[in-house]
Structures are given as structure tokens and as C-alpha cells.
């Protein structure tokens, strides 16, 4: 029989067996033993963030850039509660992740001990699975279960809470290869009858449309989607999370739909007669008024989670399946359809209201910046924060094969972008990473500059600085009589804090300010040349720039505000 080992040793053994090469960690009293074990461990890179929320976003960026399950390690109490926003973000965007939290020793649980919180209870509704390890002999099984659950089916975060005494208790050295979970059976097949029914329905369409969401990307079905759409000759629109699953240079790709989708795409959703949707949960940002969503269409819905089907939109043909498995089959069935007239109509809509921004009176046009990024960084992974800049990026950034568009879609977490960009660069150092962020969201996690500098991470930070919380300001401008309450981040005399260049200087980070359109490309090229660390580019943009089209929340997709 093999010799017993401590919990802390088993923890590291588990990471090794799972092939974990990087973890995102912040130390604290209830994980000092595990941290000490990491000191003795080779082959696992430990990224020390500067705030636990940022750690989780870094892990999300890592997972998105690599497809691997990301690992976070934090202490109990505040270390654990700080992760909550990140965990919720990962949950709503289906990011595979295992979060390890330290916990007070078993005998103190329930005593309101120092830095004790019921983190499993607090995160129950935003994790796929969460558990406190109450018995050293369960530790290996529960960690294995965590990795299995996080990465299979519809992926998501799992939280494993390990009391301090469990970490130092000796027990079995075994880490299982596989755990049978009797209540967990992710869909690994597709009901062929349903799929054929869905296909036959598509074939009857005169105005067919494929709607592809983030599920297509998660399952790695980009090639199959392109093959299917191309063989069928059916146009494709995407959700924000689905952006990039269809190459943007494909003539069948008509852009994003939804609240800030393209005019032609929203018109196509409204006018299509069969909507073939794959890997989307029909979020309200995509559908607008549910009663008037795709009113002329029969709807097919392929999704891995049966609970996502017929929840928001009642569908005609439900297919519970992984997008890739379904699309592989569909490619086999594919037959060319005559969609020439329909494509002409969509093209006409596009030419009636092409996606473009008016040139602003002051500052640099966001569209100009996005197009310059496309040109200077044609292969980069693009990460965004949340707000106007995010929607401009979703409209004007071109995401082609081999690129990722990494954004906080479901939760819409300001502060996501910068740490996620760091995590993406850590996960895939060969690929340049461009962060598109706003001055508001950037300030929510800007402490991570220390992480980027110490780890020498060459993220190009493009701040779309309009000195305002632009997305809410836009709503105030359009719907609240221009009463700009608490959206202006500048002082009354107009002075703005911080001066991002002076701030960057404090970190020995290269900083560039761009106020003139002619300086956009040179600034990006200068940033690209800096491979030793991050560069901050402070793009001054006008607070009056609007994200258009816009569908007001709760109104039909066809009611777009266009100017």
C-alpha cells in the first residue's frame, strides 16, 4: 500500500494529474499550507494577482484563450467573497473553472471564526457544483469531480472549499482517473430523429437564417458551422458571445443581431421564416420583446442544456445536443438551398443602413480605432470590458480564424477586461492581446497593472476615454432627457482623474495619449513593438458618441434607433 500523504500534497498532485500549468492565486491565512506546498512544486506557474476578483477574471481569460479549465486559489473569508463577481461572470458565460477556497478548520466552522464565511452557500446559485471537503478521504474524489463537472456538458465554475485542517491531515495518496457521478449525465449524443426534423424544417424555408451563439465556440464547432452554412447557402448571424464563430469575411455572415446588432441582421431575424439557432440561450439582449421575436419564423433550437430550450423563446423543434456533435451530422445532410433572393434582400438592408459611425466633432472616432486595431493586430486575441466600447468592438472588430473575442456577455461585468486580457496573454503568450476598455471599467481593476508589469505581460490597453460612463450616459441622452446624473467621471471644472499617462508612469509602463485620428495607427504600432510589458493608450473620444443601432430594452428587434 502506498504511503499516506497530507491534503496539501494531494492538492498539488491533483493539479499535476489534471495537467494544470498555471494557477491564479492570492495567499491568506487559511491556505498557507497549500501555498507552502506550491513553493516546493516545479512546473506550475502561479500568477499572483492584486485582487481576488481580478484573479477570477484572469482565470476566465486564460480559459477562453486556451480552452482549458482554469484554476483559482484564494483564502477564506474576504479572499473567498471577493471572487463572487468573477464566479458569477464565469457561470453566465459558461467558463470551465475550479476555484479552491481555504476554510477555517472544521471545528471552527459555524463559530463566526476569523475570516470564516459560508462561501459554498453564497455561491450555490452561481456554480455548477460547490462543496466543502469535510473528510480528508473525500478530498481526491471531490477535486476530481470538480474538474470533471467544470469542463464537461455546459462548462462552468466549480468551487471546492478546503478547511485548513484537511490540508494537513494525512490520508490516501490516490487521485482517481474518473469519478462516477450518478446525478450528472452531460449530453454526449444527439437525437437523430429530432435533428432530421430540424433539418427538414430548414429545408422548407424560403428565408432561412442560422443564429449561432457562444455554444458553438465552446464546443469548437466553428469549422462545422462554416461548412454547414456554406453547403446549405444559408446566412448566419451571431450573438455577442458567438462573435467570431463564423469568419467575418464569409459572404454568408451578416453580423451580430440583438440590442446593438446590425440593422440587416435584426431585420433578417424579424423577417426570416425559419430560424435555426445553435448554442444560444436567447438572452433578452438578443431577443428584445419576446412576443415579437422572429415573429414570422418557425424556430429550431440546438442547445446542450435542455433547461435552456423553450425557456425564453418557445421553439418548434428542440434538439438537446452539443453544437459540434449536431453540426457534424448536419454537415452530412447538407444540400444547397436557393437563397439568392433572400440574400439580396439582406444585402439591400445592409446598404440601406450600413454599420458606420458619424465622424465626431471632438476626439477620435471609436470606429477608426477599431479598424486600426484590425489592421495593426490582424491575429490578436481581442478582449473587451463592458460598456459602449464593448459594443463598438462587437460591431467593428473583425474576428477571423484563430482569433478569440473575449468579453463578459452574460453578467456584463465592468472591470472584467483588463484582468481577462492578462489571463489570455498568460494562457497563450504567442498571440498578441489587445484590450479594448472604457475609462470607467478600466478603473474597476486597474490595480492589475502591477501583475502585468511583474509578469511582463505585453497587453495593449486601449482605453476609449470619454471621461464618462458612456453606456448609461447614452440611455440618459436618449431616454432620460439628457439628465446626466452620476455618469460624468470628471470634476466640475473638467479635470479628469487619473491622468492615465502619469499613472502608467508610476508603474514604469509605456503610456501614449491619442487625441488626433492620424496618431491612432502609429500609437498602435508603437505598442505592438513593446514586447516586454503592457502599453497604455489613452484614446480621447467624445462622450456624445452613441452606440447605434440600439433597440431599447423590452422593445422589438425591428424597432431600432438608427440615429
Amino acid at each position: 500500500m502506498a504511503l499516506n500523504i497530507t491534503g496539501r500534497k494531494l492538492f498539488v498532485k491533483a493539479l499535476k494529474e489534471e495537467g494544470v500549468d498555471t494557477i491564479f492565486a492570492y495567499p491568506g491565512g487559511m491556505i498557507t499550507d497549500i501555498v507552502d506546498e506550491l513553493y516546493k512544486t516545479e512546473g506550475i506557474r502561479v500568477i499572483l494577482g492584486r485582487h481576488e476578483q481580478a484573479l477570477v477574471h484572469e482565470a476566465e481569460g486564460y480559459a477562453r484563450a486556451t480552452g482549458k479549465t482554469a484554476v483559482v486559489l484564494v483564502t477564506s473569508g474576504p479572499g473567498a467573497t471577493n471572487t463572487i463577481t468573477g464566479i458569477a461572470d464565469a457561470y453566465y458565460d459558461s467558463i470551465p473553472m475550479v476555484i479552491f477556497t481555504g476554510q477555517v478548520p472544521l471545528h471552527l466552522i459555524g463559530n463566526d471564526a476569523f475570516q470564516e464565511v459560508d462561501i459554498v452557500g453564497m455561491t450555490r446559485s452561481i456554480t455548477k457544483f460547490g462543496v466543502t471537503v469535510r473528510n480528508r478521504e473525500d478530498m481526491g474524489r471531490l477535486i476530481k469531480m470538480g474538474f470533471q463537472v467544470a469542463s464537461t456538458g455546459k462548462p462552468g465554475p466549480v468551487l471546492i472549499d478546503i478547511p485548513k485542517d484537511i490540508q494537513v491531515t494525512s490520508g490516501s495518496p490516490d487521485y482517481p482517473d474518473h469519478v462516477d457521478i450518478r446525478g450528472y449525465h452531460p449530453n454526449e449524443n444527439v437525437h437523430i430523429g429530432q435533428l432530421k426534423k430540424a433539418f427538414r424544417l430548414l429545408k422548407t424555408a424560403k428565408r432561412p437564417l442560422i443564429l449561432a451563439g457562444g455554444g458553438v465556440r465552446i464546443s469548437g464547432a466553428q469549422k462545422e458551422l462554416l461548412d454547414f452554412a456554406t453547403k446549405m447557402n444559408v446566412p448566419v448571424t451571431t450573438t455577442v458571445m458567438g462573435k467570431g464563430v463564423m469568419p467575418e469575411d464569409s459572404p454568408l455572415y451578416i453580423g451580430n443581431c440583438g440590442m446593438h446588432g446590425r440593422y440587416a441582421a435584426n431585420k433578417a431575424v424579424t423577417e426570416c421564416d425559419v430560424l435555426f439557432s445553435i448554442g444560444t440561450r436567447f438572452n433578452d439582449r438578443i431577443t428584445g420583446d419576446l412576443e415579437k421575436f422572429a415573429p414570422k419564423a418557425q424556430i429550431v433550437h440546438v442547445d446542450i442544456a435542455s433547461a435552456s430550450i423553450s425557456r425564453n423563446v418557445v421553439v418548434d423543434v428542440p434538439v438537446t445536443a452539443d453544437a459540434k456533435i449536431a453540426l457534424e451530422r448536419l454537415v452530412e445532410y447538407a444540400e444547397e438551398m436557393d437563397t439568392g433572393k433572400w440574400m439580396d434582400i439582406i444585402k439591400r438592408w445592409e446598404s440601406e443602413h450600413p454599420l458606420t459611425m458619424p465622424v465626431p466633432k471632438v476626439g477620435v472616432c471609436p470606429q477608426t480605432i477599431c479598424e486600426a486595431i484590425n489592421m495593426v493586430f490582424p491575429n490578436a486575441n481581442i478582449v473587451t470590458d463592458v460598456g459602449q466600447h464593448q459594443m463598438w468592438a462587437s460591431q467593428f472588430i473583425k474576428v477571423n480564424k484563430g482569433q478569440e473575442f473575449i468579453t463578459s456577455g452574460g453578467l456584463g461585468t465592468m472591470g472584467f477586461g483588463f484582468p481577462a486580457a492578462i489571463g489570455a496573454a498568460v494562457g497563450n503568450p504567442k498571440k498578441p492581446v489587445v484590450l479594448i476598455t472604457g475609462d470607467g471599467g478600466f478603473q474597476m481593476n486597474m490595480q492589475e497593472m502591477a501583475t502585468a508589469m511583474t509578469e511582463k505581460i505585453p497587453v495593449v490597453i486601449c482605453i476609449f476615454n470619454n471621461s464618462n460612463l458612456g453606456m448609461v450616459r447614452q440611455m440618459q441622452q436618449l431616454f432620460y432627457g439628457k439628465r446626466y446624473e452620476i455618469t460624468n467621471l470628471a470634476a466640475e471644472d473638467g479635470s479628469y482623474y487619473p491622468d492615465f499617462l502619469k499613472w502608467a508612469e508610476g508603474y514604469d509602463c509605456q503610456g501614449i495619449r491619442v487625441t488626433n485620428p492620424a496618431d491612432v495607427v502609429p500609437a498602435l504600432k508603437k505598442a505592438k513593438a513593446n514586447k516586454e510589458g503592457p502599453t497604455v493608450i489613452d484614446f480621447i473620444v467624445s462622450p456624445d458618441d452613441l452606440v447605434l443601432p440600439m433597440v431599447k430594452s423590452g422593445t422589438p428587434l425591428s424597432d431600432m434607433i438608427l440615429k
Partner: protein
């Protein structure tokens, strides 16, 4: 909007810390209308069985079943609404401030509702009687409304429904 109906689900779940909180948390988080929830262990000590009654329309009820099924800790979901079942709920009703006529009436009510020992007066005091009932949820509702209409002071303690699938005809 489709009709809101009472429906019943049986759940086999892992008998572990936090599972009850997870299941009940789903109902509050998603604003599902939970009526009763009972839980107890099964013949396997690591498995518990819950009986849940909810008030929901068809679409919401489908969604509830799917959400429960998606939980890692939920082993099996059985829709009891569409299959033959046996169901009982335990109910205690204390009726007080009774005069002699009232007491007599209470005994009469117990006798009328009783089906082979399912309703009895199990305790009695100066001006009080205690009903002990094992009826269906609906029958208990009827009894409660009758007691409330006949007597001024009625105190109710309900246990929530417990249900089990009927033995199918082919197995008889």
C-alpha cells in the same frame, strides 16, 4: 397564460450537506411557487427523497423539472402529476374554546372524514381537542376550511405531502 395548477415532483438526491438548500434555493432564485417540500432518507442512507409540490403553469413546470435535473446532486426527477400515486400529508389541528356542543361536533367531523383511521381525535383537554389526520393535501384543505368555518380558534400544523408511485397493475 396557461392555467396555474398544483403539481407534484419526487426527487432522489444525494444525502449531503447543502443539497436541501440548493434545491429550495432554486425555487426562491427563480421565483417558482413552492407549496410544500418534504424530505427523508430512503433505503439507501446516502440517498434522500424529496416530495415537492408547486403551483405552476405547464411551461414553468417543465422548466422546474429541467432545472432540477441539471443539478449535479439530483439523481432522479419523477413527475408525479401524470402517474398513479399514493399521497398523504400529516396534519394536526388543535381546536380550542369549545363548549360541549362544539366538542361533539368536532368528534362528528372526525368520524365523517375518517377513512380507516386516517382522521382521529388523538388528544383532548378541558375545552380543546386535537385532530390527527393523514389525508391527501386536498382533503386536508377541505377539513381545514370546515374547521375554520365551524370553530373560532383553530391552530394548524401541516407536514407537507409525501407521495409514492402506485404499484403498477402489471405487478399486482
Amino acid at each position: 397564460m396557461e392555467k396555474m395548477k398544483n403539481r407534484w415532483i419526487a426527487l432522489y438526491v444525494e444525502n449531503q450537506v447543502g443539497v436541501l438548500a440548493k434545491v429550495s434555493g432554486l425555487f426562491s432564485a427563480k421565483s417558482y411557487n413552492l407549496q410544500t417540500l418534504t424530505v427523508g432518507t430512503t433505503e439507501h442512507e446516502d440517498v434522500s427523497r424529496m416530495t415537492i409540490s408547486v403551483k405552476a403553469d405547464d411551461v414553468t413546470f417543465e422548466q422546474i423539472k429541467k432545472q432540477l435535473n441539471a443539478m449535479v446532486e439530483v439523481i432522479k426527477v419523477i413527475d408525479l402529476t401524470t402517474i398513479p400515486i399514493h399521497m398523504k400529508e400529516i396534519l394536526y389541528a388543535t381546536v380550542s374554546d369549545l363548549d360541549v356542543t362544539g366538542k361533539t361536533e368536532a368528534f362528528q367531523i372526525a368520524e365523517v372524514f375518517d377513512r380507516g383511521g386516517s382522521v382521529k381525535i388523538c388528544d383532548i383537554g378541558g375545552d380543546m381537542v386535537l385532530f390527527e389526520c393523514t389525508l391527501t393535501e386536498n382533503k386536508n384543505n377541505e377539513l381545514i376550511s370546515l374547521l375554520k368555518s365551524r370553530f373560532k380558534k383553530v391552530q394548524i400544523v401541516r407536514g407537507g405531502a409525501v407521495a409514492v408511485e402506485a404499484i403498477s397493475r402489471s405487478n399486482r
